[in-house]
Amino acid sequence: MTGASFFYAFESDAAAVAAMPTHVAVRDGVLAPVRSTIAVVSTDGVWLTQPQGSLDAATGEWVQTDAGERSPPVVVLSAVEIEGAGQFEVVPAGHAGFAGV
């Protein structure tokens, strides 16, 4: 079973709580899920489009050809679609969502 993946990205913890108060809460200053269908996967954003690059054959160094695009920093992953939070949904290319087998 592969976990579903609905990503919601916010500019701050407060914005996340305001948008989905029954799903996340700030505890001890840290944004935390309040149910097992939720995970806070990043406070630095996730890739919306992944960076591209390759190893330079001559120097062996990594050469970036596309910097990619990041989401807003606070990213919440949900196994179910959260009603009313659609405006914050993002579709990241760099994250597989909940792990699955």
């Binding site: 976990g3 910097a67 760099g94 909940f98």
Partner: protein
């Protein structure tokens, strides 16, 4: 079919004195049996009683009814209860009932196990019986004999494998729930020591299935593996160096150090995904395998990350000094710095065993640090090189400890998340006293050195009131101390501080909490504890058992081995005995 295992209801305290006869099956065909530990004699006498009255009224020890298994979903997704009766070493029996409705859907079978010479009847027989429900059965026993039933869950036993059961999960325990978003793994019986072996298969469990194995149920906190291809999919067998046709699994790259690199095998070894490398030629400088693209994992100065990786030496001698490192880079992937990492040989030299290593480090490259990636680093290799080795399941987590491997779906590379788990058992009043009880748990912690992770729990097991969602009393252990907290509206610390308890990897810990509303007491293996502390202020019924996810925290990583709830306030001596004895 899913059948849980290892739960049992023990009728009577171990030192109970049984008197009178008890007809388990309401007058239908049954068998009587009686076991006297002191006489080492087990007898049965046919119907109607389950236990024969002892003429001398003496003490019978270890007479028990065991419920193991237990729930088998049927086509209507209705859980069914499989009950096993008897001591696993003496005899074993089994029945199936539907919880609630209580209809018998199978035969009760009793199979003699190891006492053939002591039974004066047939070695094996079966019969059908009616049982209103398990709870009423237990209640009847309790009322008739003033016995106290206890609930025990043993995750380390696989008593149902003989029945052809292929999977046992916590959520199948009657009146229990287990949820977790995202898949999880049982990491091959790794004790989480750095460089420790993984002798068993790595088993993947789908969402909402609790991982378990020989060491018990695997409890772990939510985490994201930022390595996008931990299954190491897509490698091409062949020589990589010089365009020989071989290829690393994308996006893995290597600094070759002058050696000739080849991929010699790829796939899964006992469930552990791997890439096998063969190195040859002559080394001319440091080499490394980088397990992620340099620009992929967003990080910043001051963050604490943990890289983990499996390794096995297939043949030859690994070149140079091996270390597991975390490299720091700019947003464009330019190298900034890397520390010395974890020297693998100083932890446990790579050998023919599957071993798993980890390194926890705080990024310190300064303000330009914006990315990080894990690497297996070969420092100072020289001369001729000939070796074959396998790397398994690379992982990179933004926290100060490793957790079991996390994989994205097959053929779907990307950072992937294992969600938090919620595991509870609703405790039946038929065999449980929610205001006067004792909780005994046995765990194997998977964290010992918690540097950088001081505020989080190593393990958490507790009771709470389901109706109000409060009233917790639970054990947890953090880096410096063991605590038991009881709370109605706010946490009351019953016992904290350093109790001289040094955890060690692989070491089994036992602890017990007594709920004696409003007071509580606790013991931990090693003799430490608190007696009957009324400051716990427990005024609510403790009618739910919960693991790990308590009070919104689910930070622990541990194997849950056994859990035992006794509906009685044990004495101080009994508590000590419970946590000190095997």
């Amino acid at each position: 079919m899913t059948v849980k295992r290892g739960s049992e209801v023990l009728l009577g305290r171990e030192d109970s004195t049984y008197a009178g006869s008890f007809n388990l099956f309401g007058g239908q065909q049954s068998n009587e049996f009686q076991y006297s530990d002191s006489e080492s004699v087990f007898t049965h006498k046919g119907s109607p009683g389950l236990w024969q009255e002892r003429e001398d009224g003496g003490t019978v020890r270890d007479l028990r009814v065991t419920l193991s298994g237990v729930v088998i979903p049927n086509t209507d997704d209705q859980a069914l209860l499989a009950a096993v009766m008897g001591s696993s070493t003496r005899h074993q029996s089994m029945m199936f009932v539907a919880p609630g409705a209580g209809a018998i859907i199978g035969d009760w079978q009793i199979t003699e196990k190891t006492i053939s010479g002591e039974l004066d009847g047939p070695a094996q027989w079966s019969f059908t019986a009616q049982l209103a429900s398990f709870t009423s059965f237990v209640a009847a026993v309790r009322d008739r004999y003033d016995m106290q039933a206890t609930l025990a869950i043993d995750y380390t036993q696989a008593s149902f494998y003989a029945l052809g059961v292929h999977q046992a999960t916590f959520e199948a325990l009657a009146d229990s729930t287990y949820t977790r978003s995202g898949a999880a793994t049982y990491p091959g019986s790794w004790d989480f020591s750095n460089g420790g072996t993984l002798p068993d298969a790595l088993v993947e469990f789908a969402a909402n299935a609790q991982p378990f194995g020989a060491l018990g149920a695997m409890c772990a906190n939510a985490s994201t593996n930022q390595v996008t291809n931990p299954r190491l999919e897509g490698a091409t067998i062949g020589t990589i160096t010089g365009g020989g046709g071989g290829a690393h699994p994308s996006p893995v790259t290597a600094a070759e150090g002058g050696m000739t690199w080849a991929v010699s095998a790829t796939g899964y070894e006992d469930g552990h995904p791997f890439t096998e490398y063969t190195l040859s030629g002559t080394a001319s400088g440091d080499a490394a395998i980088y397990f992620e693209a340099f620009t992929q994992i967003v990080a910043s100065n001051g963050q604490t990350w943990t890289a983990s990786l499996g390794l096995r030496l297939v043949s030859g001698v690994l070149p140079g000094t091996l270390s597991l490192r975390i490299f720091e880079a700019t947003a464009a992937g330019a190298f900034v710095t890397s520390g010395a990492g974890a020297n693998l040989s100083s932890l446990a030299a790579p050998d023919s065993n599957r071993r798993r290593y980890y390194f926890t480090g705080t990024l310190d490259g300064g303000s330009t640090v914006a990315r990080a990636y894990p690497a297996l680093y070969f420092s100072g290799p020289s001369g001729a090189v000939a070796c074959v080795f396998r790397v398994y399941a690379p992982q990179m987590e933004l926290q100060g400890k490793p957790t079991p491997p996390i994989f994205p779906p097959v053929s779907t590379p990307g950072a992937s998340t294992r969600g938090a788990e919620t595991a509870t058992v609703a405790l039946s009043s038929s065999y449980y006293d929610d205001e006067s009880c004792t909780l005994v748990t046995e765990v194997q912690p998977c964290m010992v050195n918690t540097t950088g992770f001081a505020s989080a729990a190593i393990y958490m097991v507790g009771l709470y009131n389901a109706g109000s969602g409060t009233g917790y009393v639970y054990h947890y252990q953090v880096s410096t101390h063991i605590s038991v907290l009881g709370a109605t509206s706010s946490s009351v610390v019953l016992g904290t501080g350093t109790y001289g308890r040094t955890l060690a990897f692989g070491q089994v810990e036992r602890q017990a909490i007594v709920v004696n509303s409003p007071a509580a007491a606790w013991r931990h293996k090693g003799g430490n504890g608190v007696n009957n502390d009324a400051s716990a202020a427990i005024s609510e019924a403790m009618d739910r058992l919960q693991f790990n996810s308590i009070l919104g925290s689910s930070d622990g990583v541990f194997y849950l081995r056994r859990c035992h709830i006794i509906p009685a306030v044990l004495t101080e001596d009994e508590l000590t005995d419970k946590v000190e004895s095997a």
